[in-house]
Symmetry: C2
Subunit: 148 residues, 2 copies
Amino acid sequence: MSELHLKDALDTLKTTGVRITPQRHAILEYLIESMTHPTADEIYKALEGKFPNMSVATVYNNLRVFREAGLVKELTYGDAASRFDFVTNDHYHMICQGCGKIVDFHYPGLNEVEQFASHVTGFKVHSHRLEVYGTCQECLESAGKQVL
Amino acid sequence: MSELHLKDALDTLKTTGVRITPQRHAILEYLIESMTHPTADEIYKALEGKFPNMSVATVYNNLRVFREAGLVKELTYGDAASRFDFVTNDHYHMICQGCGKIVDFHYPGLNEVEQFASHVTGFKVHSHRLEVYGTCQECLESAGKQVL
DNA sequence: GAATATATTAGAATGATTATAAATCAATAT
DNA sequence: ATATTGATTTATAATCATTCTAATATATTC
């Protein structure tokens, strides 16, 4: 399954005329395999073994290339670093405000909201972003302990 | 109407035990009056006349105070500075990817999504954030001209 | 009014991201 | 094969939003 995603992604790059370098291959692969929506720095550190000379700038550069090719979405936060999400089908993010964990959940796209918003504002709509914030089980439990 | 909002906000602060300083009053007032969802720096610059000695840190500090009191929401973006939104009733944001403009639109809260997400992930849900991205009329028109 | 707590200020520090310039690599034409 | 050209990577410096720190000022309590 993730092999298919990788293959599709590489095809997309090829048809877009983006050269597939070893670094790009590795970054994509890591993005697809990891379920953690990593930051640029996490990707950088994870690939240190394979590419001891790789620069952080390369990670950022290529994440931008992937974003422009529509392969990757950037999830931005105020305080902390952006996280990068390989684009698959309709899913949204549940974010734990205790530990920062991000969990995907599938939900049908909110097309009616897009249409409504477009109608009211006169904008041409491209996309939308929905995130739900809460506290995960682990954090709920450790918070319970704290109170004692 | 905005006077009521200001009064409510000041009441909230008073009951929360937050001291109302001239700077805090001015920042709140500006947030409520301005429809532009300003950045911290915009607020800082806007109040330079009234408070020539005010520090940017004061703006940030107090925006955090307001956020913790539930009066203000922070809208974060990857590249650019956070924007701050005075909390009123159910509304979401339409964001122009051409010029960065933010337009509010009212829409009933997506409670069923929150419930669904909570059920699926086991998180305790606090809130959610929805943004719709698109292109505003002005940018659509100027893009049309560009093509010629 | 003195003592104490809270806010503000000014400026330094942090940390994510981007820009720059040099070095390396890939592709194509010679 | 080799030279040429353009794209990619690297290393490092620069930028910019935000936070931290220490000193000063302001408000509150006794």
